[in-house]
Symmetry: C2
Subunit: 360 residues, 2 copies
């Protein structure tokens, strides 16, 4: 037998991913991820899709989100624990993997907490660019937590939104968002409640974290032509929109079978009409038909968006010559002799002095 | 806000896991994993269980296997690509994660290629100890690939099996297994075909890799009192036993909903009677009732076994004071301010000089 086949899995730690995004520029990354999502959505029917697998507990949910086409397989691990911030932890933490469909070899393990924030914002802005009025310039952001800066920057980058109205039940969260937006040179103002924040804006983004059937937005807050970007209602029992908001507009979704379970439309009968966004992107279904239409993007986050984001991060790592690797798979001289790897230490090119691997 | 909450995820590379198993002893590890599986199977009803999620392609399959109880969540990524050995790759490669149900924090990322071989063998031997004749001393192993040494050692350790009959369509695989078993001091002999190998033995283990509806074992090869440990038939379109073998014996399974899809019983009608093994272990259903019974363990590999194996590896890492860690989750001073991690490099305790992480 020949010498052992060494399988190296590329690794992007949380710190490495942050450094890559800083180096390439956050707005550039969001725009590139939106482009990757758009191109993957345009080949929608080539993907092996399924609703994500969720394990629910009293405190939150842990989900796995797999997807594949003929070449690449991807999955994301992601949690949602709304009370995590009380102990200094993020509500949403994530990591993911790209693998080779032909052999099953894992190609990349990457943080996805930060990357998910970018891809969610990129998805929201891509949908809004497709559905909102072309002259939209103002947006309310209801829910000013970890995702909110990314939403603002994505809408500024992709749609030229330049005025942001902020509201959160936690004033410290709004103050944090205001500070971060002003540091980016964006116009923003904090309002006293949702009704005040949404008055007069062109787009409303709801991105709240409570794991409850909340009513963040009611129909009387809508105005003709508004686009609603509903991001926070994303698992069973977690909604943000009043039923009348869904009835007032045309509703667009990512992947209908998953959104029926997880989205705001979980409140609606199974035959409530929705349109999958890829159909609008590909010209197979109309988006906004009249200036006065109310459009609702009932976003829950679909595995294909993570697939797109992981593709982007892999390519960016190539471009930036990132070399970090993990040894997840045993190196075997004879693949039928797994037992041999117990006989003696495998030959390893190099050994790190340190034990904590962040690589930046 | 206080300083950033540093989340460290324990990491066990392929080489680290091999070194830990060498240090603790392979037979000790297999016995301990069998004990962990038995104790987890005895609290079967406390687990949130689901059939695994599979993405099939012409060359193989990639699967995710999640499971959780009130404290711990686990999942395994595993592929099955029967032609991988032609390019020097393993048929089965795997890794997995343990996470905290209360917060969703990933606690451990571990190789599971080697560990899966141990847990599969531990599961097989645990089932056989429960179902086979108590005086069984000989076993045929049909399929002499990567899993076969582990099967032999597990049956030797848990059931005192001391005679092994070997057969594989690839003579080099049998020669490799013979060499490895003899090096462990076990009696083994290679036979010319399956019929010759199974003649007169007490237990037959089938652990072949072809992704086809094969007929490895037919009813005329059975003898009264035999236990059949069918390991290789484990996904749709991949079976090893003739239907008459299933009709000749009582069939035991891990998790019925998954085995109906993936096991040899995929060939049988939906009402074909099977018994879940946990019911036998807990005394709620009979195992072998007569010396002449033929018992069949239609094993496909269930997520709970990986949960048990990951628990064992985590505890062993503690015991052996393994310190390896990954940085998968961003360290944030304010969990609602994910954006902040893009401003400046996070504080990292130490930086490895090397880029390939194997830790042994």
């Amino acid at each position: 037998m020949s010498s052992a086949t060494l399988i190296e899995t590329r690794f992007l730690s949380a710190e490495r991913a942050a450094a890559m995004i800083r180096e390439h520029g956050l707005a550039n990354c969001i725009r590139a991820i939106a482009d990757h999502i758009a191109s993957d959505f345009l080949r929608w029917e080539t993907f092996d899709k399924s609703a994500r697998v969720a394990n629910h507990s009293p405190d939150g949910v842990i989900e796995l989100m797999p997807i594949a086409n003929a070449e690449l397989y991807a999955f994301k691990y992601v949690n949602g624990h709304p009370r995590n911030h009380l102990q200094g932890l993020s509500t949403v933490m994530a990591f993911g993997v790209l693998a080779d469909v032909a052999t099953g070899t894992p190609l990349l393990v990457s943080e996805l907490t930060l990357t998910t924030a970018l891809r969610t914002a990129a998805m929201s802005a891509l949908a809004a660019r497709t559905l909102a009025q072309p002259d939209a310039r103002s947006m309310a952001i209801i829910g000013n937590g970890a995702q909110s800066e990314f939403q603002a920057l994505a809408f500024h980058s992709l749609l030229d939104i330049d005025t942001f109205h902020l509201y959160d039940t936690d004033p410290l969260a709004s103050a944090k968002l205001l500070r971060n937006l002003q540091a980016m040179g964006l116009q923003a103002k904090v309002f006293a409640d949702t009704r005040a924040a949404v008055a007069g804006v062109d787009i409303v983004t709801t991105v709240t974290a409570d794991k409850t059937n909340a009513v963040i937005l009611t129909a009387d807050m809508l105005r003709p032509g508004m686009h609603v970007n509903a991001v926070g209602g994303d698992c069973p029992g977690k909604t943000e929109l009043h039923v009348d908001v869904l009835l007032a507009g045309r509703v667009f979704v990512e992947y209908e079978p998953q959104t029926r379970i997880e989205g705001d439309i979980q409140q609606m009968p199974a035959d409530f009409a929705v349109t999958e966004l890829w159909q609008v992107l590909s010209g197979q279904a109309p988006g906004r038909q009249h200036g006065d239409d109310i459009t609702v993007f009932d976003s829950v986050g679909f595995a294909l968006e993570d697939f797109s984001a992981l593709r982007f991060m892999r390519d960016l790592a190539d471009q930036l010559k990132v070399q970090d690797r993990l040894s997840l798979i045993p190196a075997l001289a004879d693949p039928k002799d797994l037992f041999a790897c117990l006989h003696a230490p495998a030959a390893i090119p190099s050994r790190p002095a340190s034990r904590r691997i962040a690589f930046v």
